[in-house]
């Protein structure tokens, strides 16, 4: 089920192993319906999330990028998501200057027990990307 009625778009999700990947699993086990545009890449921690992953994904044809990790103060490694928050906020703020809508990239926090919140995040972000439509084209 795609959020839009038209074709599926391509969204890349970078999820931390300890919280959000578990949260996505909880959502699945609880049979909470989700749009299927998202492809998930599992990271050991959002601290592993190089902002260049996001740029690389957008330049390689992704229409949106979602990063999700443990809530601040709940990081499995204590502080990975604190560093990630600064880096990702900065990268998000650079996007409009390059001609990408900053709504194509979001970062958020979902814990392993928050299956319902995961469903909300994926549904809202997928709808947002469908509103923006396919990413800009590189060929002239």
């Amino acid at each position: 089920m795609s959020a839009g009625n038209g074709r599926e778009l391509r969204i890349v999700g970078f999820l931390c192993n300890w919280c959000s990947y578990g949260g996505a699993d909880t959502a699945g086990v609880s049979r909470l319906g989700q749009p299927t545009d998202l492809r998930i890449i599992r990271l050991p921690c959002t601290g592993r999330m190089d902002p260049l992953f996001m740029f690389k994904a957008l330049l390689s044809g992704a229409d949106g990028v979602l990063v999700s990790g443990c809530h601040p103060r709940d990081c499995h490694y204590s502080e990975g998501n604190f560093y990630a928050r600064r880096r990702l906020e900065l990268a998000k703020r650079l996007l409009p200057t390059l001609g990408f809508d900053s709504g194509r990239f979001e970062y958020t926090w979902v814990s392993a027990s928050e299956g319902k919140r995961w469903q909300q995040v994926v549904t809202a972000f997928t709808e947002q990307i469908h509103t923006l439509g396919p990413g800009p084209k590189f060929s002239h």
Binding site: F55, Y83, T97, G99, F100, T108, H140
Partner: protein
């Protein structure tokens, strides 16, 4: 500049304690100065300081770590030195900074737009804000203010970040000034599609010569640069604009919170791509988010290497 004789005398005095002193000398033609690596008193005689001395010599410092190095630096160049010291890429005790009052700088692209082919210039001379350029056909008098590189128009430095010896010309005012960042303002007035087309058009001209990276004082990975490695394979050899764009983003993101806006990347670019604009934008955002300006404080903690459990300036999205 009036202080040049005094500067040469001081370098001559200090040279026995130093392995090399980096300055500028006349280059291969009247409009170019080139970096000078002075190890003998004769070489010190070649030293010049004028608005054609555009290179940020701090670029050479990390490669000379372990040697006793003297460097002639303008105020803005000392900001790069400050950043290198902050990152422990160079050692303060190995360094002697001969800080000179900046005589202004000439953007050769702007000079070319004014006088045409630079190969035809027979002589160029400076008298305060006036620049006199002689070609076989004509003699033109130009305003130095009109020839300044973009970086001299958006940030003014009256004093160096650090200096062992300071040389000033009492008659001379600070040339650089703090005006609106016209490139960035123009870009921000475009809509998203126009900005995308702007960068796609500019970056498509990139020839991936990596001059911007090689000249950058903060690009110190050298052979370890991820733009060159096959593992991880960040970039392929394709000539596609996406590869070029990605390369520029690698450079910009690796400079986030570190770039001292010396403008060497843009100056060295043989295709005149306005790549400094991306770095300036990142610096503006870092200043807004974390109140931080790179290179100005040797003891500061870089904003991306620290955090606050509650970030006052970051508003996270509620879903």
């Amino acid at each position: 500049m009036k202080y040049v004789a005094e500067l040469k005398a001081k370098i001559r005095e200090k040279l026995p304690e130093l392995d090399v002193v980096i300055g500028w000398k006349q280059g291969f033609d009247p409009v170019h100065a080139s970096p000078a690596f002075m190890t003998t008193p004769e070489e010190i005689e070649q030293l010049v300081v004028n608005p054609l001395c555009v290179q940020n010599l701090a670029t050479y410092l990390p490669g000379l770590k372990g040697k006793k190095v003297g460097i002639v630096a303008r105020e803005c160049d000392t900001r790069s030195i400050g950043e290198l010291l902050q990152e422990s890429l160079i050692e303060r005790e190995e360094l002697t900074v001969f800080s000179v009052k900046c005589p202004g700088a000439v953007d050769l692209v702007k000079l070319r737009q004014q006088v045409g082919d630079l190969g035809r210039v027979r002589s160029i001379s400076f008298d305060g804000p006036r620049v006199t350029v002689e070609t076989p056909d004509e003699s033109s008098s130009l305003d130095l203010g009109e020839l300044l590189p973009g970086k001299c128009r958006v940030m003014a430095y009256d004093e160096p970040v650090l200096a062992d010896f300071r040389f000033v010309d009492p008659d001379q005012d600070t040339v650089c000034r703090e005006e609106a960042d016209t490139d960035l303002v123009a870009l921000e007035q475009m809509d998203l599609d126009e900005r995308f087309a702007y960068w796609r058009g500019h970056l498509d001209r990139c020839i991936r010569c990596y001059a911007c990276r090689n000249v950058c004082p903060m690009c110190v990975c050298q052979d370890q640069c991820i733009a060159d490695t096959r593992d991880p394979h960040w970039l392929s050899a394709e000539t596609d604009v996406r590869q070029k764009w990605m390369f520029q983003l690698i450079h910009a993101m690796h400079l986030a919170g570190r770039c001292t806006e010396c403008g060497e990347c843009e100056r060295a670019c043989p295709m005149d791509i306005p790549i400094l604009t991306i770095r300036r934008k990142l610096n503006r955002e870092i200043h807004e988010l974390f109140g931080y300006t790179s290179g100005m404080d040797v003891d500061a903690v870089p904003p991306l290497l620290t955090f606050q459990p509650e970030e006052k300036s970051i508003t996270e999205r509620e879903w």
